[in-house]
Assembly symmetry: C2
Homo-oligomer: 192 residues x 2
DNA sequence: ATTATCTTTGTTAGTGTTCACTAACTTGTG
DNA sequence: CACAAGTTAGTGAACACTAACAAAGATAAT
């Protein structure tokens, strides 16, 4: 799909965003980062917007395993734990991703980018909601609480954890902290 | 503290950010919005950074009641409910705030702005953590779960709810949805 | 096998636009 | 007549992007 040069550009773009935010992503910085001239970028992407779209696609591909691995578990609670830990594992080993996630909101101006981000978010929310609902149906998860609230708490706390990790300069072990969070969530929503 | 003109500029800045994101906040747009010339802005603020700082200060002042009202309740669970509902009430009646919250992350580049945002967040997190901990101590809140996890779930789901409300174009009733969330959180963390 | 041509990927130099901000001057008010 | 608050005109810097040309390899005709 993407040529080597294109991948190089995408990765450089992510680096630049992670370093100093989205406003650090300029064609000048991008070109300097991979040591080609600025116009050479336009041999590989139509314009800057296409680069940003490709960053999101790259992002979405890298995050895929976090959802695909869910089916390997049979229990709902195990799936939820995997959902949390796999997300954190991927972010942990691609720390730049954490910063790009927060820049998402900065993409506000471009209609197509907003749509892309919304679709990505909605997709994983729906998958998790299905897991929670079927867990409630088979009596694994308490059903005196709406699945929507449970999903909001899981994804909300997950996102906040990543935010805190990123803003703290990544000083704590994200995956370890995630295990604690995951265990606590399980305690709360498990049906006794 | 702020002159009338300064307040007018701050409010216009928030409008612009809410409308099309932080990159929509230009001196040109700001001037046009309040129908003065661009240089006139500099009679009231040293530069654009000072305007952004003032936006955050304005924000912080407006959000204050959400925390100050906590003391009127005696029970921890009531305080948590108030924490959630007051935040949502303020955001609900100042819808532009929701968008500005997400632009927070875009302030990345300016050291002083990051500090301001971090301080604001940390302050309310700590207050809520104290509420949770004393609730655990007096046996109102279950203590088989760390207060950190509980706080993360409350604030995480609160932020996500606001994000979803804002991204959906504010199509649902934020306060109503907040009541549901608050009730569900209470069910989960209440000691029986 | 050699030559001719096309395509890909790069370069240097420069475009117009937008940005935050300033200089210098003006006007209204106490 | 001092001062606060406005104006018009314009600054250099940064931005995304383009025009024109160069080099090198692949393809194809002779």
């Amino acid at each position: 799909m993407f040529s080597e040069r294109q991948q190089q550009i995408i990765e450089a773009a992510i680096n630049l965003i992670a370093e100093k935010g989205i406003q650090n992503l300029t064609t000048k910085n991008l070109a300097k980062n991979i040591e080609i001239s600025e116009p050479a970028l336009y041999r590989h992407f139509k314009n800057k917007l296409e680069i940003l779209k490709s960053v999101l696609d790259h992002f979405s591909v890298k995050m895929k395993p976090a959802i695909e691995k869910l089916n390997r578990s049979s229990k709902a609670l195990d799936k939820i734990e995997k959902f949390i830990l796999e997300h954190l594992r991927i972010i942990s080993s691609n720390p730049d991703f954490a910063k790009v996630i927060f820049s998402e909101a900065n993409f506000q101006n471009e209609e197509t980018l907003i749509l892309k981000v919304n679709n990505m978010m909605n997709k994983s929310h729906k998958i998790l909601e299905n897991v929670v609902q079927s867990g409630q149906n088979i009596g694994e998860i308490r059903n005196d609480i709406s699945s929507l609230s449970i999903v909001r708490m899981i994804i909300g706390s997950l996102r906040l954890l990543v935010t805190q990790w990123s803003m703290s300069g990544m000083i704590f072990n994200l995956e370890l902290e995630g295990k604690q969070l995951s265990a606590d969530i399980e305690k709360l929503i498990k049906k006794k």
